[in-house]
Symmetry: none
Subunit: 319 residues, 2 copies
Amino acid sequence: MNSGRFTPESARLDDAARAAWLYYVAGNTQDEIARKMGVSRQSAQRLVATAVAERLVKVRLDHPIGRCMDLAEALTKKYALQSCEIVPSDPGAPDLLTGVAIAAAIELERVLKSPEGKIIALGTGRALKATVEQFPRMTSPQHRIVSLLGNMMADGSATPYNATISLAERVGATHYPYPLPVLASDAAELENLHGQRAVRNTIALCGQADFTLVGIGQMDHSAPLFVDGFVPETEMRELAAAGATGEITSWVYDSHGVLIDCAFNARVASAPLPKAADRRVVAVAVGAAKLAAIDAACQGRLVNGLITNEATAELLLAK
Amino acid sequence: MNSGRFTPESARLDDAARAAWLYYVAGNTQDEIARKMGVSRQSAQRLVATAVAERLVKVRLDHPIGRCMDLAEALTKKYALQSCEIVPSDPGAPDLLTGVAIAAAIELERVLKSPEGKIIALGTGRALKATVEQFPRMTSPQHRIVSLLGNMMADGSATPYNATISLAERVGATHYPYPLPVLASDAAELENLHGQRAVRNTIALCGQADFTLVGIGQMDHSAPLFVDGFVPETEMRELAAAGATGEITSWVYDSHGVLIDCAFNARVASAPLPKAADRRVVAVAVGAAKLAAIDAACQGRLVNGLITNEATAELLLAK
DNA sequence: CTATTTAATGAATATTTGCCCATGCACTAA
DNA sequence: TTAGTGCATGGGCAAATATTCATTAAATAG
């Protein structure tokens, strides 16, 4: 049933995809699918469930929901954004990433459909990871995908929120990981690290990116930097005292979206934030906790595009 | 709730889209949606149904099989087939038989899994041989496997593309070989051959077959009939002049799938092609060279099922 | 203002789906 | 070979979904 390499695993996915097609596209009931595929009804159900679990089934809504359009327009005006995408919130789970992840994946797909080779720069974090998971497989080796920062801790261990590798894999493009820790121990080590030829090349690519997609981190007790163990509590307190409101690829900024001149930022190993004037720099972020951080980033023109959900958009407008 | 002009219709679609989003993307049940949107459960169901009916919900399958299913559906419609199976092509080897052979074997297996004794009729050729090679061993002596044609040349030597014997061996079923050459020397000899009791019995079985699986031969310089030495070049040219486009079990047909009334067909010793109206007659065929032959066979209802690959399916649809 | 038609609603019900669990089969290690 | 370990299978049942139908509300014409 499968021409290439035949493995039990690929056969299982083939069947799952076939069942899902019959279910979602052709509109069969699971009973009919079972008969057509010669399995029991329960097995058919399992196949469909597998296809959903393996993310083979992608659902999208082809309708601009009025309320979301209104919010997007209002935010575009408020922050002078180049692009703004609002997805509906689930009232019960307003911080759900799935919706924005799909929207971001569609945006990304639009860029990567181009026949010209594009450079895509990606940050890290849960939102980015969720976005890449929504991304369909395609074959577009003309593009280059580059990481804006490392995901290693000082001891060399890595967080799992890496988006570059899996996106590159799905796109079939070459990728440029960022082979540095998130933070250097001091400015001197940083200079040394940045001197490496490969690193210089990667950073240069980041500066030329046609499309940059980043997450936004808040700076309170639930801050990704703190939760993931990059920054100890004492330093978090110092940063808060210095007015830290949010961070993008670890660069910490204040409530106006201006990078803070502090010891912490002097150790940040990430690529410099692109000037969001001439290139598209889009943030994906959701949740009340990130409110101040999103507001500041937009105000300070650290990003010129925003993908968020209804609930967050309403809070932003109320600010 | 809606930007731009407010009409009852657009509000209805907005709600439908929102409900569909909560259902398909956020994974709510219709009960939850009803509570969240403040409507009854039935209304929520209707909203979701509306969104589907209005085609606001787009589902796609991120798996090679998805494309295959689309093609199968299109071909089923185009040729009014009873069944159509498309396997993914290996882009590097678009004429590889392995994929379709596995698919055909699975189809065959489905029939042979039945506890009732079935009659299976088989043609010859590389595709059939490959199919049988993919067939697992089983013990189902209740079935009968019968050959639709011989594989002897006039001198009594045999081509190796015999499927009946090895399938019967793998299934553990009784088999009925076709003890005649492919071609008689003339109509008189043919009548004589067909008079044999065993042959009459075999042909009768072919007519009752529950499932008939055949290959399709093209009629150009790469024709199996020519390559395997059944037909000399001069006769091939005559047939081509008479409009021969393809052959199934050596019966030669024109570009509309109508058997050609000619000296050659008068010598063909194979069992008559089953009327593909009431019985399942499935062809396995792959490759650009067979395009016209496949198209004609389907057009002329010589077969009512097709197993091929993605590349061939695309070419057929483009015709 | 009323009669008539149309569309929307929710109750009742039929169908479909999701899940748990006992069973059995295949594979592994001793 | 045998006991053990997983893992797929299908029965059974509860949950969720779709459909039908009678009723009511709204819209429109007279």
